[in-house]
C-alpha cells in the first residue's frame, strides 16, 4: 500500500514540479518528504528486527554473547535434533488443524451471522456489538477465563453437564488430547467471530441489490442466490479473511499459552509453533538466541511464502460485478 501512496504522491509531485518548471530533483525531494517517515518507521520496526533475527540465527550464542558464525547449524538443530524435530512437526500440524478448524467454525459462523444480519431491519447493530464484544478482551484473559470455566474440579461447564444428567459428557476438556485442540478452536472462534462477521457484513452490503433482485425474480432459491450471486462477489473478502486467519493461526501464542502453558498441555496436545519458539527462547539453554531465531525465521519464511501464494491464487478467482 505504501508503494501505491508513494507513486501517487510522486505523480502529483511531478505535476507541481512541471508547473514550476523544476527538474527531477524536486520530484525526488517530494517523494522523500512524504515517504521518508513511513519508510523510516517500517525500516526500524519491521526490516531491522527481521534482519536481526536472520543475523542472530547464523551464529552460536553463549547467553547474550555472540559466538562464532555457525552457518545453518541452528536450523539443522531445530529441524533434525531430537526432540525438536518431532515437536516441530507436531506443532506445525496443530497450527494447520487450528487454521482449518478456525476457517470451518469461526469464519463459517461469522459468514452465517453476517447473512442473518444482512438487511435485517431490527437489532442488527445490537447483535453486531454483542458478537464483537469478546474482541475487546485480551486473548490471555480469555484463555485464563475459559481454563477456569472448563476446570474439571471447579469449572461450571462440567458442573452443568453433571447437573442435567449428562455426566458422560463431562470430561477434562483441556487435559484430554482428543478435546484440547478442538477446545482451542472453539474458544478462539468465540472471541474472534465478530471480526469476520463485520467484514463479511460490509462485503455483503456492497453487493448490488439489483443483482439479488434479478436472481429472485428468475426464481433462484436463497441458497442458489448465495452461491451464484453473493459468494462470487464477496470472494475477495473471503480471500482477505482467509489470509488473515492463516497468518493469525500460524502465529498464535497467547491464547494457547493461557490454556495449556508453555508446553501446550498434557501430551503437548495444544503445542503450536509459537509455544515451541517460546520454549526455545526462554528455556533453550545457553544457545537459546540462536535456536529461537532460526525457528522464527523458518516461521516467517513459511507464513510469508504461503501468504503470497494464497494471495495470488485468490486474486485470479476474483469476480467483479
Amino acid at each position: 500500500m505504501s508503494r501505491r501512496v508513494c507513486s501517487a504522491v510522486s505523480s502529483s509531485g511531478s505535476g507541481l514540479v512541471a508547473k514550476r518548471g523544476a527538474g527531477s530533483s524536486g520530484r525526488v525531494g517530494w517523494t522523500a518528504f512524504f515517504c521518508g517517515p513511513a519508510a523510516l518507521l517500517y525500516t526500524v520496526f519491521v526490516v531491522v528486527p527481521l534482519v536481526t533475527a536472520l543475523w542472530y540465527s547464523i551464529f552460536s550464542w553463549r547467553g547474550t554473547t555472540q559466538g562464532p558464525l555457525s552457518g545453518l547449524d541452528n536450523y539443522a538443530t531445530v529441524l533434525t535434533a531430537y526432540p525438536y524435530q518431532d515437536q516441530l512437526l507436531r506443532a506445525f500440524g496443530h497450527n494447520g488443524v487450528f487454521f482449518v478448524g478456525t476457517m470451518l467454525v469461526q469464519n463459517t459462523v461469522g459468514l452465517a451471522l453476517a447473512l442473518l444480519l444482512h438487511r435485517a431491519p431490527l437489532g442488527r447493530r445490537l447483535f453486531q456489538t454483542l458478537y464483537s464484544l469478546p474482541y475487546l478482551i485480551s486473548p490471555l484473559v480469555v484463555g485464563y477465563l475459559w481454563s477456569m470455566l472448563l476446570s474439571p474440579s471447579f469449572g461450571p461447564v462440567n458442573a452443568v453437564l453433571e447437573a442435567v444428567g449428562l455426566d458422560a459428557l463431562a470430561r477434562p476438556w483441556l487435559g484430554d488430547p482428543g478435546t484440547a485442540l478442538p477446545v482451542v478452536v472453539l474458544v478462539n472462534a468465540w472471541q474472534w467471530v465478530g471480526g469476520p462477521m463485520l467484514i463479511f457484513g460490509a462485503a455483503l452490503a456492497a453487493v448490488p441489490a439489483e443483482l439479488e433482485e434479478s436472481a429472485r425474480i428468475d426464481g433462484a432459491s436463497a441458497w442458489k442466490t448465495f452461491w451464484t450471486v453473493r459468494f462470487p462477489l464477496i470472494l475477495p473478502t473471503v480471500g482477505v479473511v482467509t489470509l488473515l486467519t492463516f497468518i493469525g493461526t500460524f502465529n498464535v501464542f497467547d491464547l494457547v499459552f493461557a490454556l495449556g502453558g508453555s508446553s501446550g498441555g498434557p501430551g503437548q496436545a495444544m503445542d503450536v509453533l509459537g509455544l515451541l519458539f517460546y520454549r526455545l527462547a526462554f528455556q533453550g539453554g545457553v544457545n537459546a538466541i540462536g535456536l529461537s531465531s532460526a525457528l522464527a525465521m523458518l516461521m516467517f519464511v513459511f507464513v510469508f511464502g504461503i501468504s503470497l501464494l494464497v494471495d495470488r491464487m485468490l486474486r485470479r478467482r476474483e469476480v467483479n460485478p
Binding site: 547467553g63 547474550t64 555472540q66 531430537y82 474440579s153 477434562p172 487435559g175 498441555g265 528455556q283 539453554g285
Partner: protein, 421 residues
C-alpha cells in the same frame, strides 16, 4: 549489529525498570546498591532484611528491585550486559544459571568470600559454572519436596503420617472410601510432573546412589529401576482427583486448600502459599516411605539449591557489592532470610524457626534425595526436565509406556551430557 541491539534492549529494559534512576553515588556521598530479583511478593521482606545491613554500613543503601518471575532471566541477561544493570542479582541455579555466566556478566567469587568454604560442596554445585568450575553466587535457599497433608482430615479419619509405603496406600484407601480425594495433583501444568516423580519415585530408582552412577556413566535412565520408578509414580493415579489430566496447578492447590483433598505432593514453598490462602489451615509434611522393591531403604527428602546472589562484573561499586555478598554468606543474613521469608536458608549454621521448615530441613540433611532434572540434567538442550515432563504426561495419559519415556529421556540428554568417566 548484535552488540548495538543488545545495548538498545538493555537500555530500554533498565530505563523501564528503574524509571531512569541509576544507582551509585549521589551528591551526599551515600551509595545505593541495586539488587535485582524475581520475588515480587518478597520485596518488603527483603527490604527489611537489608535494613540490618544498612544499619551496620552507614552510607550504603540496598535496594531490592523485583521483576516478573517469567521474564526475569531475559531482563537479567540484558541488564548484566549493559552498564545500567544491577550491582548484585538473584540468580537461578544449575543449568539456568549458565547463560548468565557464559555472557560474562558475573564475577567469580572463589577466593573473594571466605565463608563460601563452609558451604557443602553439593550446595555449591548449584551455583558453579559448568565451564570453569568456579562459584558465581552465594546460595540463598534450599527447596525440599514433600507430601503436604491436612492434619484435620488425617485426624478425622484416624490416619497418621505413614512410616511405610503400605501405611500410605492404606491411608489413601481410607480417605477414598470416605469420599475424600487422597492426593490433589496437577497434570495440566506439566512442569510439576518431574517434581511429583521425585517425591514418589526417588526411593525406587535409588536416589543419590543412582545419581552418582548416572554421573559416572555407570547407569542410564533406561535401567529397570528408573523405568520402575516411573511406573510406580503412574500407579498412584488411582488416588488422584477425578479427571486429573485436566487439573491445573492452581486447581490442585485449591482442592487441597479447600479440604477436598487430603494431600498435596509439592515443594516446601507451597506451605507459605497455603497459609496465605487459608490462614487457619493445619498442615503437616511427610516424605514418601520406601516403596516395594526400593533401591534405598531410607525415606528420602528430595531437594535442590533454589538460587544465589551474584555480583555483576560490570558494577563500578564492586568492593561494596562484594561486601554485601559476604554478608549474604553470614549466619546473620541466613537466619534473617529464614525468619522473614519462611524459607530454608542455604547458609550453614542456620535453622528455620518454623516447625515444618525445620522438619523439612532436618529430613533433607539426614537423607537428601536429588532433583535430577533441575540439577544435573538441566545443563543442556534439550533439558532433562523438558523431556521428562512431556514424557510423564504421555505415561499418565496412557499414550506411552514408562520404558518408552525413559528411552526418550536417555536419547535426548545423550546429545549433550558427558559422564565424568
Amino acid at each position: 549489529m548484535a552488540k548495538l541491539a543488545r545495548w538498545v534492549l538493555a537500555a530500554a529494559v533498565v530505563a523501564a525498570a528503574t524509571g531512569c534512576a541509576p544507582g551509585g553515588a549521589p551528591a551526599d556521598g551515600n551509595i545505593t546498591l541495586n539488587v535485582w530479583g524475581w520475588r515480587t511478593e518478597d520485596v518488603a521482606a527483603y527490604n527489611k532484611i537489608f535494613e540490618r545491613y544498612e544499619k551496620n554500613h552507614p552510607g550504603v543503601n540496598v535496594e531490592y528491585r523485583a521483576f516478573k518471575n517469567t521474564e526475569y532471566n531475559t531482563i537479567l541477561l540484558t541488564g548484566l550486559a549493559g552498564d545500567a544493570g544491577p550491582d548484585l542479582a538473584q540468580l537461578r541455579a544449575y543449568g539456568e544459571l549458565q547463560p548468565s555466566i557464559a555472557s560474562g556478566g558475573l564475577l567469580a567469587l572463589d577466593g573473594q568470600i571466605e565463608a563460601l568454604k563452609s558451604f557443602p560442596s553439593s550446595t555449591l554445585d548449584g551455583v558453579r559454572s559448568k565451564d570453569d568450575g568456579k562459584v558465581y553466587g552465594v546460595p540463598f535457599a534450599i527447596q525440599t519436596m514433600h507430601v503436604i497433608y491436612n492434619k484435620k482430615l488425617f485426624a478425622a479419619h484416624a490416619i497418621a503420617p505413614p512410616a511405610t509405603w503400605q501405611d500410605m496406600t492404606a491411608g489413601a484407601d481410607t480417605l477414598q472410601s470416605a469420599g475424600v480425594t487422597p492426593f490433589a495433583v496437577t497434570v495440566r501444568d506439566d512442569w510439576m510432573l518431574p517434581i511429583e516423580h521425585e517425591i514418589f519415585g526417588a526411593g525406587r530408582y535409588g536416589g543419590p546412589d543412582f545419581r552418582e552412577r548416572l554421573l559416572r556413566g555407570n547407569a542410564k535412565f533406561t535401567d529397570p529401576d528408573y523405568v520402575a520408578s516411573i511406573e510406580l509414580y503412574a500407579g498412584t493415579t488411582k488416588y488422584w482427583q477425578p479427571k486429573f489430566s485436566g487439573v491445573g496447578y492452581d486447581d490442585a492447590k485449591a482442592l487441597f486448600a479447600s479440604g477436598k483433598a487430603a494431600m498435596f505432593p509439592g515443594g516446601v514453598w507451597e506451605l507459605a502459599e497455603f497459609r496465605r490462602a487459608v490462614p487457619d489451615i493445619e498442615m503437616g509434611i511427610f516424605n514418601v516411605p520406601p516403596p516395594p522393591d526400593a533401591k534405598v531403604n531410607k525415606t528420602l527428602t528430595p531437594g535442590f539449591v533454589d538460587g544465589s546472589f551474584g555480583v555483576s562484573s560490570r558494577t563500578p561499586r564492586q568492593a561494596q557489592a562484594l561486601e554485601l555478598a559476604r554478608w549474604m554468606a553470614s549466619a546473620e543474613f541466613g537466619q534473617a532470610f529464614s525468619d522473614e521469608l519462611t524459607q530454608i536458608s542455604a547458609v550453614p549454621g542456620t535453622t528455620p524457626t518454623d516447625p515444618l521448615l525445620k522438619q523439612a530441613f532436618e529430613g533433607f540433611r539426614a537423607n537428601p534425595g536429588p532433583y535430577l532434572m533441575y540439577g544435573d540434567f538441566g545443563y543442556g538442550t534439550p533439558s532433562g526436565a523438558e523431556l521428562l515432563r512431556a514424557g510423564l504426561a504421555d505415561v499418565l495419559l496412557g499414550r506411552k509406556s514408562a520404558a518408552d519415556v525413559a528411552s526418550g529421556l536417555q536419547r535426548g540428554v545423550e546429545q549433550w551430557f558427558r559422564p565424568r568417566g
